[in-house]
Symmetry: D4
Subunit: 228 residues, 8 copies
């Protein structure tokens, strides 16, 4: 009941398969894998495939991922992100552009979850790693790569300062994803989260700690709507 | 000494078997199973059965449950709720009606503990699952099922918003049970608990995080007293 | 009593006058007086009186209360509770019984708000003051006065220990109302609130700090439903 | 509304007038009025008017607003929002659509600041008030009014539950603005903020407590970019 | 480096054996066993025995206790308290009287550590268990047993209410020892600790969570000094 | 000193005059002056004087103190401590010795309240000011003055380090009184209080922030009992 | 700037004038002006002038500053910093170089206190304002101005991100001074302070919120010692 | 992603090998070993050795240390500090002097990490252990050993009082490193950290909990710059 680290978001909001969801909410249903039987995931995925929907599960353990791969040879298993995804055969070309920036390499799993979410959502995505604020030139040299994005996701732990700096470079929303990377006074990501909420950049908004899926989902909505 | 997750409530309030308790407090004694020898539980249950009382233990591990089942073949072991219960042969018909609602499937163990408590207390109970606020129609379609209850127990983690919504639909007490379901800024259930305490619905009260037993006990008191 | 802005609860939940509310929620609408123009309160009260409903406003300042008294000579102004109330001419006899206990005299304003709420709701109420835990005999001598209540409201600040003790004496719900009475480590009532949530008595539930109205409302619902 | 020093966001990020800012960041500079001499604001506004830019100051006290109105007869002073604004004569037609929802009337000042920000940014805006979760039908009847917005801003204090409910109705970003409305366990808006960060709706992001300007700015960016 | 649960107190204050300590501080040195080599403990004990001092180690693991018992056959190993103790052959008769009360059986390990500390210090001690506040008669029947003590130690978790009640019965210091017994809103013992610090009884003081040794040490000082 | 409402402790525990209290609890009743009518204080004092008891009121405002002085010419008004006291004509010689140490001059009001409490209780007291840890020689030169006390009260804000240092010099209980002196990370005295609770000295116990009365009361109990 | 009682640091550590302090601690005594009689400050300053020491008082109110200016015509009153200072006639040339950076104009009072402290200490100081992280080019253009400093003081509120960025540009200690500038989730400067403590730059250390004096004192020690 | 206890600091700020770093930041790059492949560390070390740089990795597990030792026979593995270090053959004589003090033996791992950092940086270092405040004479006897240091690092958990005491003895910066040593109210080192931030000594600054590397790095910068 008391669970550790989930980065996905629909844990407490399980649905019966809701095939009109795409119309109402913009995207089909996503399976939150933690605490769910692999048989259930397989059943949901088969129904989604029948509907021509792409399939996506987050927080999938190695054992479950193996079972899913056996059932769905075409599926894409990302062990760093802990996701499993099946592209729809009817998927059109990807649209828009979202950049995912990380402060350090330890933030990679959360960033990967955001990347997989963007791929599932049909949005072009670019990962730019290790541009933390203590090496300010590293970020500066990469600005041209993300200045034209529809939205920027910034994944950072510790002091959570990167979103404010990024916010000063772009004219699009910056979605800040605090991570639990850090120790001591990082308070499990709370210090980064509070810092991001206090950002002096006007275009920074924040999601829960380690919520890579949510960051990706929001950015995808923005990009998709813009290019509709 | 430092213990993890208990959902029951009398841990710190162990009694010698107090056979007049039913008269004074409305219900016979409940055994908090955590940290108690199975032999002690068996001894207490035998004494309660002699008195014609129903028996109920919460926080019973799988090993203890197995030993109890061997001793008491008629006992009811609920592994999701982690409870073990023996109905009294003198039990009358169940009275009243309490609805137990959950926001998501992860809240099920806490809800089950409340359901078992209601069964032990002799109160009719209805479990309505997965009616979290992000799918508002799901709750709306079920209102007729719980509108006539004597009390409603709402079990929810994460943002803990469901009790406020339920409170607007009913003219009975809503007992909010926050759960430790969530991650990051959920702070082990504190975010849900604070949200519930700030509910703008006037008929919402709150118990401790994961305290399914306490929620069930309070609702049972209300239902029993109403139908006395 | 060190209080924030208000002890009442519908601040964030303002309604257009909702005359069917009584049917759906058990009681007519209550006016949260803080931050509301006295002219608006007068207008709402006139409409409620036309409907034959009782009128009740919480968090009414002295200036507003004076204006209300001028307009409604029959109104009852309680300066300790900061409420203003007009009884309905169609009001039937009061029903049930709710006891309101305080730990100390400083808790009186919150207790009075609960008492006024019970009066408005048509429920018999008894105020028992100054029975804090450090003088255990004081409570003990009064048990016979509240043992037969439909619900007990316990108002206490500082360590918030009184609800647990009361819970051991009665077979009805104990609604704990923490108050902001205290200093230093009382953290504005948070210490009392946390203590009450951790109560080892199974029949204790909790509402927000200084929420006398909410405590009264919940107890009134329980009493009214029981005597319907 | 119990507010700290300010609801606007660029307090710590004062600029020399940066006339290229519009190009880099999407919008011209905004003056954070708190702690700034009115003479400075007047000087900045004159420079911005020379550049054909719209002018906007947040957190403007009544005294400063009066001085600004004397200097700029064409200016728009909003006392509820505490803003002062001068439209550009070169302003084109407003574009897009953003809905601003409040849970209760006490949230109005923060919502008004968001509304003024949207007006300054040249985005069509719709204010929908008093649709808090404890009266679920009130929101439901208004869904058709905001379902086609480019983004939805949800302003709520206390338990902060409204953004999750709204998130289930729309396929656009929901920008949650927690307010300091509440008392006791609301912890000055922290309870609402934590609740929003734990939202089970995938399309909810969060800004600082009482940050109406930031909410409006983000929504405006999304709407402007979509309709470019 | 990050350590879980220690109840002893000299962890951060390790001494070279300081044989004059008894004179300056009232008692000889105590060995904090956690993170200390058993060989070191043995060496210290031999030196203390040579000096005719009693030996006492807290937080001794089962493995270390076994090694100590092999070396010192006369030693007293208390597995519940996790202590190991060797009485001095020169020990005089015990003096004074300290009562150790617990709210529930889960508080026993902390209470036992206090009992062992009192034994080591040469003070008579009486353990009174399971007198938590939700069963107020249980405490009342035992008052005569501790009313004449030199000091009372009250060990309690959850809401931490017991010290206030005990404080009203005695004319001696009540040393409150909060325990980490509890779940959810108990915050690892912080709720109990805050409650005890807010006690309305004037004779209650508080030590760290689970600090049975410290509680015992303080009570022993009071008793010893009184009977010197 | 930034204080909340009060430094005294019986706020929530008001009594009817309880003339046997001295026998049961060691001392007669103390009047907590805050929020109490001066007429009530006068009435209580007259009754206490009739019984030959000493009178003591804490948290007495300047206006109330003036009225008390007019009524009781023999009374002792201490404006720094905010207390008013009348010695009993039957008072015997003072007994014992308690030292009250402060870290800095800003801690004086809390220390004075402790001093007045000791005077009322009939215990000899010595005030030693400004011996904070950053000037370690200052304390060292005064050790001989308090080494023979029955108990030592240490009043300190900011980092609250002084009790640990004092604890190493004496063989009696050290009662640590944290004060709200400090700013920023002192969190209104919480930092000092947490530091004191973590003291590595075994003879340190803690009371609430700014609780000078409670510190004095506990020390007086220890001294009185020792010299009975 | 929302400040508590004071930004200076010796409040709790008052000394009798300690004329050897300069030798032992590197600098003469500083007067913490808050809560100190102006007559006392004048007396201390006269004694310091006799010794040929420079005089410095922090947290001096306008009224006290006026009295000091009347007494000491040569004194330097800085109303923004709230300091009063008298240079020693024997003062040698200033040495070293310390840069004081602020994130925004609201941080100016804390920065000024640091500047005055550096002037009193005889260290060259340079103030660089408004180089907050959301305008990254502003800082970059000024790096050459502080790259050769002996130490850099960074004063910032809100998210407190600036020290990390500055840390990446210099090979000297960066002393981070969090300020209480901000609102809502800034928690009175705690968010900035936590962010700074989690800085990923290895050369960043932190002092208390609004502690401009302490930041200046530490930087002065480093600069003075380097140029001795 | 959620990581326990790291004492090093560049976790979130991973670099490609940056050979000019020494010039810009004063020291070559340090490898944060946690979560990094040993093959990567070996590759980085080989490149650093080619450049004639000293090599240093913190948070190195036993398994990784063994592999590093096999590859680099000349490397120095410190298991208490969990570091691995290779001295440069071109290293000059060590300069300056830094003292590292601990309050208790449990603080040793953090102190050792600081010692290794100082060795890597080429600074003379002296370790003084077990001088916690509860035995004040222990520190006093050692003052002459660290009074002439360029900087003092004080490593302490629990109440974190030692830096204030040390600060009163020296005229150089005191870098306080709080440790997670403690239990209960130590809150994983937060109590020590808050205490240190509130230090009444003007020359104390603070780094993150258990951040031995950061403490050493800062002290080394101060010492190196002073002796350049």
């Amino acid at each position: 009941m008391k669970q550790g680290e989930d980065t996905s978001v629909d844990k407490n909001c399980e649905f019966d398969l809701d095939v009109e969801r795409e119309e109402r909410c913009g995207f089909p249903e996503v399976v939150y894998g933690q605490g769910k039987e692999v048989a259930s995931i397989i059943r949901i995925f088969h129904r989604q495939l029948e509907q021509g929907q792409p399939c996506f599960a987050t927080r999938v353990s190695a054992a479950k991922a193996k079972a899913l791969q056996t059932e769905f040879a075409q599926g894409l298993d990302n062990r760093l992100a802990r996701t499993f995804r099946i592209e729809s055969p009817h998927a059109g070309a990807k649209v828009g552009k979202v950049a995912v920036l990380t402060a350090g390499t330890s933030d990679a799993p959360v960033a990967e979850e955001a990347m997989e979410t963007l791929a599932w959502a049909g949005v072009n995505a670019l990962l730019i790693q290790d541009v933390g604020v203590a090496g300010p030139e590293r970020l500066r040299k990469r600005v041209h790569q993300f200045a034209d994005a529809d939205a920027v996701i910034v994944v950072a732990g510790m002091e959570g300062a990167l979103p404010s700096v990024v916010g000063g470079y772009v004219a699009v929303p910056v979605i800040a994803v605090p991570t639990s990377v850090g120790y001591g006074a990082s308070l499990g990501g709370m210090a980064a989260m509070l810092g991001m909420l206090n950002s002096c950049a006007s275009n920074v908004c924040v999601v829960n700690i380690d919520a890579g899926f949510k960051g990706g989902y929001l950015a995808a909505l923005i990009a998709k709507n813009r290019h509709k």
